[in-house]
């Protein structure tokens, strides 16, 4: 039975750990961090001590071992227990900032960046998006020009998660003119002269996750900071597409599941017209529609994650899972706010935060339309 791999004794224990950590270390402070606009470093340290940052990273890189199923269990259980998609995005930014470094096998970079980050001592970010190139990754213009033992980097990046707190930014740069083969990844320490955070961006949601706009002006970076070979970045980034998309799919069904739980609780306790709201058939049907969206999404995502963990290359399926889960999430958080009534529109009501947070899921990590393009192409349509 396929369900077994999700409930081995170790994974049951991981789930319990994720829940306990979230209830004790996250939920009581989340409002405070939303107001502050960022997560404290101490949270990274605590999560590292519990081994949560290193899940699905190899032990040789300072990780904890485990695979995509373990990281999905960690994320979904944190969401079920009251964490938020924004919190996961910021606490686990290393999930996008480190895989290329770890995958490159470069021992020096792994020691300098991967190990301390997984130990909660450093914070990393991944900078791909630019003011005039987002979905069209090959359109980026930030340039790194070789000068002896260094690269001189010039350009701008925007919408970069965790970048205002980051110690290093894994940066996608242009080292050649070929749209795809002219791209490279280079790790830039944020204290390098010429690098600056232009501003912290104000957002609709994901408030506890800081997002920055970055400038690179004649930033001299040692050539040893290059991740993988020059010109190999597009392939490196593409290799991580599936896990990034499945990660966001998990946010989708995880948040939807939590929003449904909160809503069931609410309509049981809220009385209108002399009866609890759940007494209305229309309300119960709405809950059932939400339940259907959650379950179908979760089961499909789990299925794809299992195959991904087993080593299959799944471009279309990962993109389908993302779009399915994002659509389910948008539907469920919308209905959750609706059934909460005026309270659902108020700051301080949990579903209100999920409603705002959910909006990014269909834009980041490959917009819904871009996913659809990819799926059509993969299917030969």
């Amino acid at each position: 039975m396929t369900a077994d791999v999700w409930s081995t004794p170790e994974r049951v224990a991981l789930r319990a750990l994720a829940r306990e950590f979230t209830v004790r270390e996250v939920v009581p402070y989340l409002d405070e961090w939303e107001a502050a606009g960022e997560l404290p470093r101490s949270l990274h340290e605590k999560a590292a001590a519990a081994g949560l940052l290193g899940v699905a990273f190899p032990e040789t890189a300072g990780g904890q071992g485990g695979n995509a199923i373990d990281s999905a269990i960690l994320s979904e259980e944190m969401l079920y227990a009251g964490a938020s998609s924004g919190l996961l995005a910021s606490l686990f930014t290393h999930g996008i900032a480190l895989p290329h470094i770890v995958g490159s096998g470069n021992a020096e970079l792994i020691d300098r960046y991967a190990k301390p980050t997984l130990a909660g001592k450093l914070i990393g970010a991944l900078a791909v998006t630019e003011p005039d190139a987002g979905s069209d990754v090959a359109g980026i213009r930030t340039r790194a020009v070789r000068d002896g033992d260094t690269y001189v980097v010039n350009g701008a990046k925007t919408f970069i998660t965790s970048s205002t707190r980051a110690d290093f930014v894994t940066t996608l740069v242009r080292t050649g003119d070929d749209p795809h083969h002219g791209l490279s990844l280079i790790v830039v320490d944020t204290d390098t002269p010429g690098f600056s955070v232009v501003r912290r961006l104000d957002k609709m949601g994901w408030l506890c996750s800081d997002t920055g706009e970055l400038a690179y002006v004649d930033v001299r970076v040692p050539a040893s900071q290059l991740v993988g070979a020059e010109g190999s970045a597009f392939a490196q980034v593409a290799r991580n597409f599936a896990s990034e998309r499945l990660g966001l799919a998990t946010h989708g069904y995880g948040v939807a599941s939590r929003a449904l739980d909160l809503t069931v609780e609410w309509v049981r306790n809220r009385t209108a017209f002399g009866k609890p709201l759940i007494g209305k058939q229309v309300v119960r049907h709405k809950l059932v529609e939400m339940k259907r969206a959650v379950e179908v999404s979760r089961v499909y995502a789990h299925h794809v994650i299992e195959r991904h963990a087993a080593g299959e290359q799944l471009f279309a399926e990962a993109a389908l899972a993302k779009n399915q889960c994002v659509a389910a999430c948008e539907f469920v958080v919308n209905e959750a706010v609706q059934l909460h009534g005026g309270a659902g529109y108020m700051r301080g009501t949990e579903v209100e935060r999920h409603y705002r947070d959910a909006r990014i899921l269909g834009i980041g990590g490959g917009a819904t339309e871009v996913m659809n393009d990819l799926i059509a192409k993969a299917l030969g349509w």
Binding site: L14, G51, Q64, G66
Partner: protein, 259 residues
């Protein structure tokens, strides 16, 4: 220093606890089991002592099959091995019987220190550590809020109502800890994965040399004769303050003989 930590699985603190209708023991099947909270502090203290001065930490649990979840948690926090005393004949043991069985099991494990929580959240007798020390003929250092190990000795700060006492004893010794002593670590994911490879020994009554008629419901010195559900909360009395609130409050306190 080789340390044994006695860890008990108890019904989830937040779950509604029930007693079995037939023999009035705690119904452990219908609710999730968790590690007795104070025992997490006991495990943490043992791990800290080990990290500072070496040795091995063994977890000892007496309880049904299900308690293995709790044993695994202690192993994933970092304990080295575990002994699980499990036998249908133990069901319904009272504190005296429990301490006897634990003492017998301890006879199979080399140790310098035994660390326990001061109390379990389900039965709350708070007597097992003292009884155990007595049965082992070891020094008892209870209610520790701080532990310092020396060469063949151990010193604790014993929490009292007004402050603390410093108590020192030679090893082997039995220590019970209060929650002020430390902050228990989370079991890391790597620890969870490593736990399944750590040695876990299962003991039956016979393995531990426990006499069957000294444990279980039949072998317990106490019997639970009857139980009654807690009466539902009475509706409170609301006193409206019409300038004489203070007087009315004082009258209420006097009527209840509080003042």
């Amino acid at each position: 220093m080789n340390i044994v930590v006695c860890v008990k699985q108890v019904p989830d603190t937040w779950a509604e606890k029930k007693l079995s209708a037939t023999d009035k023991t705690v119904d452990r099947e219908s609710v999730d089991g968790v590690m007795n909270e104070l025992d997490e502090y006991a495990v943490e203290e043992a791990l800290r002592i080990k990290e500072a001065s070496g040795g091995e930490v063994t977890v000892l649990t007496m309880g049904p099959d299900k308690s293995v979840e709790t044993i695994r948690k202690a192993l994933s926090m970092g304990a080295d091995k575990a002994v699980h005393l499990v036998d249908a004949g133990l069901h319904g043991s009272d504190a005296l019987a429990t301490s006897y069985a634990l003492a017998k099991a301890l006879g199979t494990i080399e140790h310098d220190l035994v660390i326990l929580g001061v109390e379990s959240t389900d039965a709350r007798m708070s007597v097992v550590p003292a009884m155990l020390a007595e049965r082992l003929g070891a020094a008892q250092l209870t209610f520790a809020r701080k532990v310092e190990v020396g060469d063949g000795t151990v010193k604790i700060e014993r929490l009292t109502d007004t402050g603390y006492d410093v108590v020192e004893a030679p090893t082997p010794a039995v220590i019970s800890v209060v929650e002020k002593i430390n902050e228990p670590r989370y079991p890391s994911f790597k620890g969870i994965m490593a736990a399944k490879k750590k040695p876990l020994t299962t003991l039956t009554l016979a393995d531990a040399g426990i006499e069957a008629d000294k444990v279980g419901l039949g072998g317990s010195a106490t019997t639970v004769a009857d139980v009654a559900a807690r009466p539902p909360k009475q509706a409170g009395q609301i006193v409206k303050d019409e300038g004489d609130g203070g007087t009315k409050l004082a009258e209420f306190l006097a009527s209840q003989k509080f003042v």
